[in-house]
Amino acid sequence: MKLSDLHAEGTRERIGTVTFTPEDIIRFAEKFDPQPFHLDADLARQSLFGGLCASGWHTCAGWMKCFVPYWTGEMKRLAAEGIVAPKLGPSPGFRDMRWLRPVFAGNTITYFVTFVAAKDLESRPGWRINTILCEGENQDGQPVIRFESKVVEFP
């Protein structure tokens, strides 16, 4: 089965939630993005953001944190129905990533994936590149992140 058979174009699937605690925000930022507004609540209040908020890369990683168990669950669900799940490989990257709103300490983000399109790879028969839309919303339903990702699918 192909990914395009599993999800009709434009169908948005909810893949999970992540709560961003101040401790997690600071731990990630100390390692990867040590800027004052990701490290210190007082300094963050003086920044454009106005409060301690997660590194944008932390918000992205939260999407992946939800997608992996979601996809594992899908493979199990399909196997139970006797269907072989699409085989997905590494991603060659993403584009048009927008950090639309800060993810503040204490926010809970719900992540989504939408199947957008599939393109056959002419150089490798049976291989395809899928485009998926990845999104996250905060607990008030406001969008915080959006990007388009590519996923390789092989036979």
Partner: protein, 151 residues
């Protein structure tokens, strides 16, 4: 402190080399991307990546740290609205050393906030063999120099 005016097109900042450690690849993947090729050497060898490989999100995060250390922590940075494109071009394997640089593509003052400049940059991350592993085009908001503020 670097301000918007210090970021003309073509300005380049070099990254300090960073070693990709197996324990850090596994720790990141365990928390955010627990797929077999990111969790063990055997899992990596069995995949098309050929060895214990960093999650693309880990590579991105390591790039961010190199950006911070190369210029952001010296700059009046106010964060980023987003990334136009990120290409993960080659597997980043445990034991690799990452380096590279970022270069200003263009820079303009924000229309809605004249005290903020929007600088677009391209970061190129390479490995110890000189192979490009990631290319990222992104924007950085940087405060403009104001009268009376020390350069």
């Amino acid at each position: 402190m670097l301000h918007f005016e210090d970021f003309p097109a073509g300005k380049r900042f070099d990254f300090k080399p960073v070693e990709v450690r197996a324990d850090e690849v596994i720790a990141f993947a365990s928390e955010f991307d627990p797929q077999p090729m990111h969790l063990s050497e055997d899992g990596g060898k069995a995949s098309i990546l050929g060895g214990l490989a960093a999650s693309g999100w880990h590579t991105s995060a390591m790039m961010m740290r190199m950006l911070c250390d190369s210029y952001i922590r010296d700059a009046a940075s106010e964060g980023s609205p987003g990334v136009d494109s990120m290409e993960w071009k080659k597997a980043v394997l445990a034991g690799d050393t990452l380096l590279g640089s970022c270069t200003v593509i263009d820079a303009r003052v924000s229309r809605s906030r004249p005290e903020i400049g929007i600088v677009r940059l391209r970061a190129v991350v390479t490995n110890q063999r000189g192979e490009t592993v990631a290319v990222c085009d992104y924007a950085n908001m940087i405060r403009c120099q104001t009268a009376g503020e020390e350069a």
